[in-house]
Amino acid sequence: MQIPDALERWSGKVQTVRIGATQEEGGTRSKVVEVGGETGLPFLKFEGETPNPPVVAMEVWDIPPIDWPEVLTEPFGDALEDPAKWAKKCEEFGADMICIKLVGIHPDFGDASPEQARDVVRRVADTVSLPLIVWGCDEDEKDNEVFPACSEALSGERCLLGTAKEDNYRTLVACCQADGHNLITEAPLDINIQKQVNILVMDAGFPPDRIVMYPTTGGLGYGIEYAYSIHERSRLAALGGDRIMAMPVIALPGPEAWRAKEAKGTDEEVPANWGPQMERGPMWEFITATTLLQAGTDILVMRHPKAVRELKKFVEKLL
């Protein structure tokens, strides 16, 4: 008896987005990171291709980290005092990109000026040649003051700037248009809003092949199953031909995993049978990342070098 062909045939695919510009293209990055382009569900090699493997961006703040456990700060040492040194360490740890989180511009965390933020991103760009992500502080008014300065300072480097939201996207769209950057559209774990933000940004004239989606990441116990289902539905829609959902996806397993006591809690603070934090913490981050990979994720923002190393080995095995 002929065994029926059960392979899925998809009519759509995920857009390919290029992050970083080399000298030939007007930038100073040593390489271009391409994400997206998938023609099937995650890692089902018999049904589709993954032309660009998922990549890791390591997180760097513009100020020393607040509230990071020793297990997390120890690998970096005093490099954490300076964003450029911190980024250099991340490069050594194997990061594919650097994600600069501008925590210090937030009114509650120092209220750094646009000029100060600009200096930080420029120094990081001058110290490492990896493609860059620059992420605001989530306070819309301040972000809108700071985006233009940082965007212009990195003009031509084809960075990934974030984030554009349903009620605050025009400034970021304008900057990214003017300076040739890609942008991240954000939605609060709501797939309908995600699609709407993509449309709003495209209506404002921004090209779809320079958009990366951030559906919001929740850790285990903090909404991971919700995030997972949204990553998955978005990916299914893209493969089914919905061009407005056909963008690569970015997630934040680093920041989210380290919020949980399973990672953050010191050996004194948690039950003994949870195991030593120096394994427990990175493992928690690793598992958060691999879970989201299965749902369809292209860029993982991570923190601990051990989690990064294991994640990259894991991806290699899957491909």
Partner: protein, 262 residues
């Protein structure tokens, strides 16, 4: 939802005049406007009054081909005109509109579909006319499906049409057609496409656009996935898009009508 734009038909005054005068403009404009409005195929019909059916068909096809490569549906009951139209479309995607379930028609049109690698519409009517009930339609549908399989036509190129009658001709038929659509979906796995000539439902009635769009949505709920209609009727297309949303065919967003049209 596969949309076949119905407007390039000699029964419409503007197209009839253009055919008579051999004026390409109105035909080409109508082709582009229908495509812009969301048509996937353009139906090409010389209309009832045409004398040289085959020649006119070729003229229409070539005129449209000057401005677009979009798939065409050759719409003619005349075999010679059908063949001429298919020949003029050679090398591109084409649909045969249509064959009936009559044995002699199937034997004439299925080989054509095979020869031109065309999609084909099969009307569930035969030498006894249009069946009054659901079973009669399903029987003929099965016959058409079997003939398609015999001739190596894949299911995804077969479009079965349960034949709509005007609502004021027999008010029992709209419900029968809907039930038939549901039955046709069970004929094979995967099932063939199901198509209707939507405007027939309101032939000779008032409130034509309202009747058309209401019936389209009702049929979609039963599994209709293709229709020959007027894509320039914006409210009709809005209703079609909304029905697809309600059938979970795409993800909702506040600008869902705009999103669909992008």
């Amino acid at each position: 939802m596969i949309i076949v734009g119905e407007r390039i038909n000699g029964m419409f005054k503007d197209i009839r005049r253009a055919i008579r005068k051999k004026d390409k403009g109105p035909v080409q404009e109508m082709a582009l406007r229908q495509l812009e409005a969301g048509a996937d195929y353009l139906d090409i019909n010389v209309g009832p009054a045409s004398a040289d059916k085959a020649g006119t068909m070729v003229w229409l096809v070539e005129t449209v081909r000057e401005v677009t490569d979009a798939p065409l549906a050759i719409d003619s009951p005349n075999l010679e005109a059908m063949r001429a139209g298919l020949e003029a479309c050679k090398g591109s995607e084409v649909m045969i509109n249509s064959t009936t379930g009559k044995q002699e028609d199937l034997e004439a049109y299925m080989p054509l579909a095979q020869e031109y690698d065309a999609s084909i519409v099969g009307l569930t009517m035969d030498e006894n006319g249009i069946p009054g009930d659901v079973n009669g339609r399903t029987e003929i549908a099965l016959k058409i499906l079997a003939s398609a399989m015999e001739h190596g036509i894949p299911t995804d190129k077969l479009f079965i049409d349960p034949v709509i009658l005007p609502v004021n001709a027999d008010q029992r038929q709209p419900a029968n057609v809907m039930k038939a659509i549901g039955e046709f979906k069970l004929l094979s796995d995967p099932p063939p496409h199901i198509i209707v000539g939507l405007s027939n439902i309101s032939q000779g009635t008032k409130q034509r656009p309202l009747i058309n769009r209401t019936y389209l949505v009702m049929c979609m709920a039963h599994g209709l996935d293709a229709a020959i209609l007027d894509p320039l009727d914006r409210e009709l297309m809005d209703a079609m898009i909304t029905a697809e949303l309600l059938l979970n065919k795409f993800i909702y967003c506040d600008s869902f009508l705009e999103a669909y049209r992008r």
